[in-house]
């Protein structure tokens, strides 16, 4: 089963790095990118996106606010917030909106674990 993943980061390099890790783990999955929260919301409304990977520290609305918006829009969609800022308040707020927290720089191992869990949840949407 192939899924579509949206990568949201204001840094082009960071998007490239996440896309590379994703490509090596799931070469058949479709990758879409957005550089800010507004574009990301637009894409989620228009396209059939299954999973989103968000940067935390972005100009305008940050990744946590975007995660909350996305969860409101698509409650069952797996969402991960990626950040080097692992202060307990941020990790707790990430989990409170129902998203996963992944440390930056993102390792393939951390991404693989998140994606495995995401696939499990996508296959049993009742959860």
């Amino acid at each position: 089963m192939s899924y579509t993943v949206l990568i949201v980061d204001d840094s082009k390099l960071a998007r490239m790095a996440v896309a590379r890790a994703l490509g090596s783990l799931q070469p058949d999955w479709t990758r879409l990118e957005a550089a800010n929260a507004d574009d990301a919301l637009q894409l989620v409304k228009q396209s059939n996106i299954d999973v989103t990977l968000l940067d935390f520290n972005m100009p305008g609305r940050d990744g946590l606010e975007l995660a909350a918006d996305l969860k409101h829009l698509r409650p069952t969609m797996p969402v991960a917030v990626i950040s080097a800022n692992s202060q307990v308040e941020i990790v707790a707020r990430t989990q409170a909106v129902g998203a996963a927290f992944l440390p930056k720089p993102l390792t393939e191992k951390a991404l693989a674990e998140f994606l495995e869990d995401a696939v499990r949840r996508l296959k049993s949407p009742a959860q």
């Binding site: 390099l13 490239m16 790095a17 520290n57 080097a84 692992s86 202060q87 720089p105």
Partner: protein
């Protein structure tokens, strides 16, 4: 006033540098959070390659009051200075936050120098260490030094820059909202170091995004 940007790094290199600074500062904020027990808020880093006078003007436009800075020199493949700058009026509040408890004002004043140096050291070292690790280079850090002034002094420290009058001025706001503390982290580098940094950033870009990444500059 809009400072004149100096075209030394291409867009992707600038992007990579911003990302590195973001990583370093985010981790350093985590250390500061551990010290004071309250969340430290960070802005998205602003990075500009500008002249020294423009850097001074930029800082003065944002801050009118007297400033205090913790200053450290870093040396290695790239050499420069990092400064943690905040309004002098916030300095005692920062010390109070770090030292904790209900210290008397005289104790806080006595501790100020030491606490500022320690806080600066943790933030600046944490930030630089992350950047050095990501660039796979080691950087030697000097001991922290406390400076006070209106801003221009911080950009004209001895020894003067080896060549060129261009500095990498990056600033990131950090704030502890519950305590009304905020400040900037500034990095200064001259042209020879910026040239060396370009190569290190290219190596980092290839490691992060793959060997094809460098060919995408034109599309940015």
């Amino acid at each position: 006033m809009n400072p004149v940007l100096v075209n030394v790094l291409n867009d992707l290199q600038l992007d990579a540098l911003t990302e590195l600074v973001n990583l370093g500062v985010s981790r350093a904020a985590g250390s500061l959070r551990e010290m004071i027990g309250e969340q430290v808020h960070l802005s998205v880093p602003n990075i500009a390659l500008i002249s020294r006078p423009d850097a001074v003007a930029l800082l003065q436009a944002r801050e009118e009051a007297r400033l205090v800075a913790v200053h450290q020199v870093f040396e290695g493949d790239i050499t420069g200075r990092v400064l943690l700058i905040f309004p002098e009026t916030k300095s005692l509040e920062l010390v109070r936050a770090v030292a904790g408890g209900d210290l008397a004002l005289e104790d806080i004043i006595e501790l100020e120098h030491e606490a500022l140096a320690e806080t600066g050291n943790i933030i600046l070292n944490g930030c630089l260490a992350t950047i050095a690790n990501m660039l796979e280079r080691s950087l030697k850090m000097s001991l922290p030094e406390i400076l006070r002034g209106d801003g221009p002094e911080f950009f004209e420290l001895d020894p003067p820059p080896a060549a060129g009058d261009v500095v990498l001025f990056l600033y990131i706001d950090f704030a502890v909202r519950e305590r009304d503390i905020n400040g900037y982290i500034v990095m200064l580098m001259d042209m020879p170091s910026l040239t060396a940094l370009k190569d290190l950033l290219d190596e980092f870009i290839v490691r992060a995004a793959g060997p094809d990444a460098l060919g995408t500059d034109a599309k940015h």
